[in-house]
Subunit: 241 residues, 2 copies
């Protein structure tokens, strides 16, 4: 499977924070999404290895800071790539505590929200936490940072515990298949023409009637496939300029 | 609570499709998000009133088409604002059926993914469906459509059953509070200065030590609040130009 498909899904970028027995912690996440409107509930996916996960389970409260496109890369480094077990990430960071004592990062953020944990779903490597929105506010008119902007402009790689993390092998494969953001069409989307009848194979369309799904590169079609128009063999096809 | 905070969370825009007993259906969604990396699982939030929800529960399979920024508005209208109970939304739409017989919209889409339903979480108004990614491919190099682009350029309003739907009253309130995308600062972020000592109240910072959360407009601070620097009353403050 072409792992570039993962890059076509849009996300924002956020700092999730909580507190437990006097210790504050937070981490960078891209999976924050509203799941119901009335009452307003949001979901976040949190790796079980994250120091914050056990704290949220105990404290049953967490906050979300929506990062700005203008936030400092250093803020993301601090909250995204270092363990809170060894560092106080809040030292030197602009934040405040809610009336319930939950830290909320305001630095580099366009808005904040505070949640009460209502459901926890065990998804193997991650917990999916569902939170009821209790309070929140807009802090700035700046554009929210998107995951795609972070990747393109900040050249960011997802931390190891992110749900959208790609292993070194997957990143290598994705790079070889060419990133989605490249201006010229990736080789995978090369069209091929039947030299016998002129029928053109378009990978974006595929040949689903004959078991070839849209998005299948010509090279990946089974060798016994034939031209759906004239029955010519696969070897009769040439790449279209 | 300022409902503009909902607009600061980033999403893509997608068509979710399935099939049950010979009937195909699909709907437009913005809440599609990866929840685990290994194995790759995604979550989607689906209103129980959606014709598709019961079909996914029965069929235990669904597909996701990631919409392109260049897709036709009419495609979104067709899948987003009409009930599949009365219309065959796939008529006149480019799509194919997976080997398992699940329809996948390819029209106006940059990629597609097919899922097996692994978990269903009942969230009151919505089901949160968790799906294991079985197959998928990139279809185009175009930019994926984001929910914010849809709102700004397409002037779209979320369908009534979307998790991010705002009621008429909430939209009115949000419009009055000024949208986040406006270039000049909203009135809510107006700074106020103490005429006695010169201390400036910044709504983005608030006065959390005295119970005023960041994002609180000066007008919304309780009347018994006083200047944290000199103790002057709230009435001693003037707006900063």
């Amino acid at each position: 499977m072409d792992s570039n498909i993962f890059k076509t899904v849009s996300y924002g970028l956020f700092i999730i924070s909580t507190e437990w027995e006097g210790t504050k912690n937070g981490y960078v996440a891209n999976t924050v999404f509203q799941v119901t409107a009335e009452p307003p509930k949001f979901g976040i996916s949190c790796h079980k290895d994250n120091f914050t996960a056990a704290m949220i389970l105990n404290r049953k409260r967490f906050s979300v800071s929506v990062l700005s496109q203008n936030c400092e890369r250093e803020l993301i480094n601090k909250f995204g790539y270092r363990s809170g077990a060894k560092n106080d990430k809040f030292e030197g960071t602009e934040f405040f505590n809610t009336s319930e004592g939950i830290p909320v990062v305001t630095e580099g953020s366009v808005s904040w929200m505070a949640f009460e944990l209502t459901e926890t779903i065990d998804l193997g490597s991650h917990y999916l936490f569902i939170g009821l929105l209790k309070e929140g506010a807009v802090l700035s008119e700046e554009t929210p940072l998107t995951y795609s902007y972070f990747h393109t402009v900040f050249k960011g790689i997802a931390p190891k515990n992110a749900p959208t993390y790609l292993s070194k092998e997957m990143r290598k494969e994705a790079a070889q298949a060419k990133p989605v953001s490249e201006p010229e069409p990736a080789k995978k989307l090369q069209k091929w023409e039947c030299m016998d009848c002129g029928w053109v194979y378009d990978p974006a369309v595929g040949d689903p009637d004959n078991g070839v799904a849209p998005g299948t590169a010509f090279e990946d079609i089974p060798d016994d496939w034939t031209c759906p128009d004239c029955g010519a063999e696969k070897s009769e096809f040439e790449p279209v300029d």
